[in-house]
């Protein structure tokens, strides 16, 4: 009993005992848990209409596991495979899913609809009219202020996204000057939008000078002086990849 007088020996013995208990419990109940999950997964896959897909509830070294590897069903379309994977993932007790022929990473299947819509709205506004600047300067023309108001309103549904403001000029004048001017104009639009309540940290500006003229226009055409908006990143709230396994 001298061993029991040593506190760390007692703690270590306890840990060993707990580990042994866990190993015994895991080894005896594991196969049954995996079997039950496999049966439910088979039913779920069948009801998703993806019968050739099989869920294999075993770890890489062959032990029973809650994390299935899905295989088969290569002839099925991605949507069906996706549905089968989601059905299996929805079974209580099933952990993360991977496809045998893919990675453990899942791609989200929901499209970022809202940001694209507001990008289109802004594009539609700017197709009809353009934000004009005073000749050779970055001051927004008085008549264009109203248009900036409308752009700010159209961008509002995209709050939380990162919006790129790109300035362009025509090819008249030296290019270094054009580059600086296009950048300053983009900055001016950004400042105007911030003034109208669009958060500054979601707005990125850049100037391309006369490098990318409008398709079908001569580089020197004054219509190339323009500001373009695009949504470059969206940050919608999404479930973690483990919860929504993709087809691959």
């Amino acid at each position: 009993m001298a061993l029991l007088r040593n506190r760390s020996a007692v703690v270590a013995l306890g840990a060993l005992f707990v580990a042994a208990l866990a190993a015994i419990a895991g080894l005896t109940t594991g196969p049954r848990i995996a079997e039950a999950l496999a049966a439910r997964a088979e039913a779920a896959i069948a009801s998703a209409g993806a019968a050739p897909v099989t869920a294999h509830f075993a770890s890489g070294s062959g032990w029973p596991s809650r994390h299935p590897t899905l295989s088969g069903g290569e002839s099925l379309d991605e949507a069906t495979r996706d549905r089968a994977a989601k059905a299996v993932a929805a079974i209580p007790g099933v952990g993360g899913i991977r496809w045998a022929d893919g990675t453990a990473f899942a791609s989200s299947s929901d499209a970022p609809v809202e940001p694209l819509k507001c990008e289109e709205d802004v594009a539609a506004l700017l197709r009809a009219r353009t934000i004009r600047f005073e000749e050779g300067s970055a001051r927004i023309d008085a008549a264009s202020r109203e248009l900036v108001d409308e752009v700010a309103t159209a961008l509002r549904p995209c709050l939380g996204s990162i919006i790129a403001i790109t300035g362009h000029t025509d090819a008249s004048g030296p290019e270094p000057g054009n580059l600086a001017l296009s950048r300053e104009r983009a900055e001016a639009v950004r400042a105007a939008l911030v003034q109208r309540g669009i958060p500054a940290d979601g707005l990125r500006t850049s100037g391309l000078g006369s490098r990318s003229p409008v398709e079908g226009l001569e580089p020197a055409d004054p219509a190339n002086r323009r500001i373009e908006f695009s949504v470059i990143a969206t940050q919608p709230i999404r479930p973690t990849p483990v919860d929504t396994p993709g087809p691959r």
Partner: protein
């Protein structure tokens, strides 16, 4: 991860949590003179 390994990790965590709680409550006595205040 195999089921037995998940169980092992969980049970060892629970054991450590139990030790921590026990230490927090009864703390500073040793095994030799426990209960003697």
């Amino acid at each position: 991860m195999p089921i037995w390994l998940e169980l092992l990790v969980l049970m060892l965590l629970a054991y450590m949590a139990g030790l921590a709680i026990g230490w927090a409550i009864w703390g500073h006595g040793s095994v030799e003179n426990d209960g003697n205040g």
